[in-house]
Amino acid sequence: MTDLPGFLATVEIFKDLGRETLERIAGICEEKRFAKGAIVYRTGEVPDSLYILTRGAVSHPSLIEARGSTDGLVRTPGELFGIAAVVEEMKRRVFTVECLEETVACAVNGARLREILKMDPSTGYIVMQRFAGLMAKVEGFVPARGGGLSIRHAGKIYDPEGVHVVAVEDCSFDVAPGGLCVVVGPSGCGKTTLLNTIAGFDTLTAGEIYLDGRLIAAPGRDLKPGPDRIVVFQHGALFPWKTVLDNITFGPVVQRKMSRKEAETEARTLMVKVGIAGIESQYPGEISSGMRRRVEIVRALINDPMILLLDEPFRALDALTKSVMHEYLLELYDLSHKTVFFITHDLEEAIFLADLVVVMTTRPGRVKKLIAVDLPRPRTYRLLSSKRFLELKQETIEGVHEEALKAFEAGERELA
């Protein structure tokens, strides 16, 4: 490359940088050639240098496959990739980069680039802002928020030849990626069965369930439960024989994603961030039920699942602890942007938490009503006495009450 600073000036992001900053950047630039089909870096590996494409074309194969089209994903000369090297939070959004043809790119070490930009007080920071803006743009069409769940005519019959108990019948609704869906219904309306089929503990006898377009449950297809959809159980499933720290680090260590030391540091930071620091060495039996519930949610989040399944987690807690846990769950939800599938008996809790409320009938469980809750986020407890909330509650309480009375008379007992 002849006039490297000149070429750099043409790059859209370094537009009005000073001459000498450009020279300094050009100084740390080294040219790299890649053959056709070569992999520059893989998902999860954080690249340490930013690549400015000079010739050829580069793309993200995994994203193409996920989104089924290549618009906006192929990089042409003059564009950038490997932004994660520069922008800190991009770490988790890194996707494999593969060269479609013979390419030449000049690599700039991210950390040194940041120093150079910091040395230039005036325009350096503007360029940093551009990088952040680029990250937001990238995030726009990169489906960062996975976890869209769609349930098509799901049906479940227990012991078809024998007692033939129809638990769930023709139930279909969609949960937007990153949305919070709550299923409400009396005991015995098949909501736990639905959750078990999504999590992969039970098989469906009719219909399909897709997670991000991937089929995860269908009749006759026994899929293994995986760390991409983690369940928080009703009466808590913390291993009583492990300390709190061992419980939380169980996921990453067992999947061999992190070494024990790494997992422990990650767990400690997450616990501090979430506010339950200080109980690392205690056993689950020694901490209060509210605290146990929080440890369990952290244990699920550390594995970075696509969807979080909650099976009436707050049922055993008394009223005030339950209200704490609601706010706590919403905080975690905003922080982690995971899709949440939540089932409960308590209508008020459902409306307060959810974007989408699914009301189920008693056995055989059918979808009685779908309510989109348009309350503003972040939601605080004062919302409970707001007019919109009461309207929503009025709208659903008749239906739910009627179902509850039917279940109450028939003496329905939890089957699943």
Binding site: P186, S187, I287, S288, S289, G290, M291, E312, R315, L317, D318, A319, L320, T321, S323, V324, E327, T344, H345, D346, L347, E349, T380, Y381, R382, S385, L390, K393, I397, V400, H401, A404, L405, A407, F408, E409, G411, E412, R413
Partner: protein, 283 residues
Amino acid sequence: MPPDRHTGRVECRAVTKMFGEEWARQVVVDDASFVVEQGQLNVMIGPSGCGKSTLINLIAGYEAPTSGEIRLDGERIEGPGRDRLVVFQETALFPWMTSLENVMFGPEVRGTNRREARQEARRLLEKVGLKGFEDKYPSQLSGGMQRRCELARALINQPKIMLMDEPFRGLDAMTRELMQEYLLRLFEESRHTVLFVTSELEEAIFLADRLLILTAKPTSVKEVLTVDLPRPRDFHVLTSPRYGELKQEALEALYEEAVKAFAKGSKAAYDLVEAFGKRVGGG
């Protein structure tokens, strides 16, 4: 046939109760003096683990108070007796008897002949909505139905006062609401004196005529709130503004007690204090 109007008044004067040897003495109830009005639904609420159940046991006569006395309609309470019905936290139905036999236990023990007792038991089971479940064992009934069978078993003795120690704790939210409404119907119809213990604030205010707020351990009655919501109540009252005010008031009193209980290191109170701190502070 409801008991005659003027009975069922419990009066506790300076009742204290201590457990354990003198080197690990634990005072659970410390000079609690209050009156359970007759014909009213009195609800006791306090931070969990503050000795509410011990107070109920004292009134029911299972344990004698270390000092002070408890009078029911004037005479002192010696041991448990037919005139005080007790419903426990976990179902105390006899698993080896069918629901009909469970309900017939009271009259049988009193010595009335079996045929009459059987008829009365069937009538009561029908009244509580358990028709057709007479010869089922308690393990075959759902939570709500077990609770109703227990109520029927106690009502057959026409007690003067009903003592209920967090009876709806194990039930799920919906069955609990239905059982609360059911209890209100029962109370409004027969006007027994009821002493109801709970740790849920919404449930307490929804049911109560008089709300007794207890202090942390050692327990004594801190404050008595009269709940003047209209009778007969249904779940719409939950969204009325008066309900909100009452709830706020009770919450304030309860918060101090929770902090004291928490200072004494009770695990359960930890969640309550944090919950409330977040609410009042963060809100």
